[in-house]
Symmetry: C2
Subunit: 203 residues, 2 copies
Amino acid sequence: MKKINFPSEVGAGNSPLAAFVHSVYPVSDQVIHYINTHSVAKHAGRGDHLLKAGDVCKHLYFIQKGVIRGYVKDGSKEITTWISTENEMVTSIRGLHIQQPSVENIQAIESCELVAIPMDALHYLYDHFVEMNIVARRILEQYYGNAEDRAFISRIPNASKRYYHFLETQSNLANRISLKYIASYLGMTIETLSRIRGKQVKK
Amino acid sequence: MKKINFPSEVGAGNSPLAAFVHSVYPVSDQVIHYINTHSVAKHAGRGDHLLKAGDVCKHLYFIQKGVIRGYVKDGSKEITTWISTENEMVTSIRGLHIQQPSVENIQAIESCELVAIPMDALHYLYDHFVEMNIVARRILEQYYGNAEDRAFISRIPNASKRYYHFLETQSNLANRISLKYIASYLGMTIETLSRIRGKQVKK
């Protein structure tokens, strides 16, 4: 992955992560400056891994452009557990609470433009700029809801209903990413997914 | 559900919720006092509902004693999406971010002793005592990880592996709650669950 440093001044050259944080809650110039000077732009090619299972995730990534998925290996099979896109942040979710080796892999499934900030810098922000906890609380409330939705969707016994629920909640991905990732995320074969989509088109 | 008010003084008579909050991050006496005066003890009998789908969840509940589950109706079938127990907090997860009608039901599956605090009071705390955002951020990081784990467990194709993962992460519940809830949570029939447990005993 290529790295590009952001300018350290507050202003037009702000890290897109700083701009996003500010849109969640109006943080101080010091926070913007700290994010600008501690985050870097990264490019990840399609198929590149940001994290492999067994490693500790040392960064949080903000997606400016592209699509990222999380997956867990079950023998030789890959189980896709989440798919994230523009203006979302990704990291090892189970590593947020305690920095420990990840059970999941994080992979770019499109060519991606990212902003990376070290987890250490994030904790510095929490400890020294209390308003960053307001930002994090608001984002986590939303992400927690989304994770619960992922826990629900996979428990729907009927494959068609799982796909329709996916369309309701993540319709932007339905015609963007490879069917194999949607099928893996929805716990069905590509053949079943194609059949369901075929029926939908006929309607 | 029966309600009991907590004493308004800071001290021995604190709400168990205030004590829990303080254990996550040392909050001020004003926060403790606010929680004491805005939370009430509640008793929920086995089978009682704290929330029905379609209603807006107006409270966050802290479980002092007992077990609570969240479930979603799929036709006449109930899909258990989470199970929580002592020292955990429950509410409509999708209602945390925006107060909107819940798609899930919340039910006591054991006789429960709870502390209830209105969502309005929680938002007052966030707005007026910034350190409550530190408490919430820490709790949400953990709960987000747990929700992600629920999203993963339900995607494991093999029923035995799902049960073993459940034992690894929530072993305290394995011999405490009715098999029907474990089976519903793990997306298998009671017969399959009994067979897996039978094999495990023989080992």
